[in-house]
Symmetry: C2
Subunit: 353 residues, 2 copies
Amino acid sequence: MTDADLVDRVQHRLAGLFDDARADADRIGAPVREATDSLADFVLLGGKRVRPLFADAGRAVAHGVAGAAPLPDDSDDDIVTLGAALELVQACALVHDDIIDASDTRRGNPTVHRVFAARHRAGDWQGDPDRFGESVAILVGDLALAWADDLATGLPARIAPAWRTMRTEVLAGQLLDIGSEARRDESLDAALRVIVYKTAGYTVARPLQLGAVLGGADDRLVGDLRAIGLDLGLAFQLRDDLLGVYGDPAVTGKPSGDDLVTGKRTVLVAEGFDRADGHGAARLRGLLGTDLTDEDLADARAILTDSGAQRAVESRIDAALASALHGIDALPTSDGARAQLAALAHRITHRAS
Amino acid sequence: MTDADLVDRVQHRLAGLFDDARADADRIGAPVREATDSLADFVLLGGKRVRPLFADAGRAVAHGVAGAAPLPDDSDDDIVTLGAALELVQACALVHDDIIDASDTRRGNPTVHRVFAARHRAGDWQGDPDRFGESVAILVGDLALAWADDLATGLPARIAPAWRTMRTEVLAGQLLDIGSEARRDESLDAALRVIVYKTAGYTVARPLQLGAVLGGADDRLVGDLRAIGLDLGLAFQLRDDLLGVYGDPAVTGKPSGDDLVTGKRTVLVAEGFDRADGHGAARLRGLLGTDLTDEDLADARAILTDSGAQRAVESRIDAALASALHGIDALPTSDGARAQLAALAHRITHRAS
């Protein structure tokens, strides 16, 4: 299965799930159908499918070990199901995160809570439109999480421990994130800790592990992949931090400088506080979490660039990628599996969206 | 296992889960520990354990069928696990529902989102306290849902279809509820429809079914129990509606006339609109969803009582209970199992909290 095949098959699996869900929803009532449609659009029209690709790479590594048992006939089905389940967990995380961050756009479209708030306004419905939008979005995210687990239940029982940890970790990472922000913890340590749980484990290390366990990996191999995954997850998130400040909105689907507007405490910003002079750091702090003008944004970018914070983050990405590639080289697997994982490693660390 | 034993064992199972979760949370960070503690308090300190009791009754019915296979040794463990899992789904539903309804209290204590908003205020943390409270509560609910599924994964695979339907139904019921309210649908039909999905299936019919499937029931018996469960679920919710208007706050743990203050579109209120004269209906509509004074509350109660709405709801409860008891009498099971289910039926329809 090529990467494109996998992405197609995950898409197809998700589309089938939503066809069934729509039929169920129609039996219950219009509000359920509308919520289901909204989730279907969210899941089917966007997303890079990074987690399914890492799961497949993990399976390939396990399968490529000399003397590994041949993959059963339904191994492709399992990895597709796992990929679809991971995308649904991600949908829950993003839909709820967008409520928490009060985000207006996601993947270039209005966020789920904004869509339903707008529908409430347009229909001149009863109550507060924003509250209605958030309420529907809470339930849409819940549906995504429940349906993710429905898919995962069909997978071999040996993946259960990693699946369990993955879900708890991503929620824990979000709690850590909002908890650190509320407590004004601007330290690099706090930002890195959030990454480990909210992104590195959940986006890379756990999908790799889940795929490897599906492929029959032993504990030693799973441990090796975990270290690689944490490096790559860190690199992935740091690239995200850079894109959140320097990214092209036409490519990222998010507003320009979005992370600064929302006041996100990223590693990039923490490096900025550490490295800028007192005046620059104070100016940066004053701009964070405000509706920045073009001039403000240019200012913030200049502080982060001139202080060396941007360069420091690029260096961290390079170091994490190098460490991961070193680990990949040493994996006791086939050349093909190593190449598959290394290609993915390069791709996620050098992306524009 | 007596009812009291079951409740104790479910409590113990949940306590064990939270001990493990606290240990994991401590490794991640304080905000995760605080969220875990809050969920543990919510789950362990409250709740009538209605769903576990119905699950156990369903198992007893299946087991009491002449010629039924003997229950395996771990059957008690399974019903305890199922009961704990149901309580966690319920925790998710309530914590998220309380955000949606902007409720201040639940089970006699401040709601989860209010607890964290208060903590934010007390600590003079950064950002908006109410938004922080709601954000944490969204994630606390998500954790409850994820952990419910973690428990359910350990159960025999034959329960998966009913488990899946139950989770989708309760979320669909909530969507229907807020959707009907936003669209100003005050009809009896809408209120009854919400009950079927949000309460009757989820609180009684599905737990009964899940227990019965665990106990080895065939499709015919599951169908009989489903009809009984929907009757009892309706009666349960209608009693809740009456308690929401006439209940004693010291017993219900909710403010006096809470459903009127929150403007909930219940069957009781729909009956009130149908049965009161034009003046009474207009007065009731004007009071709904406002901070009622004691005099207002007395007024609203008088309209509902004098119009015959309260009596109509009591009649509906009696009819649903009679229908369920008739169904229970006809179940092809042991006298003991029939008695267990009938006792539970009486208990939930004649409760004060």
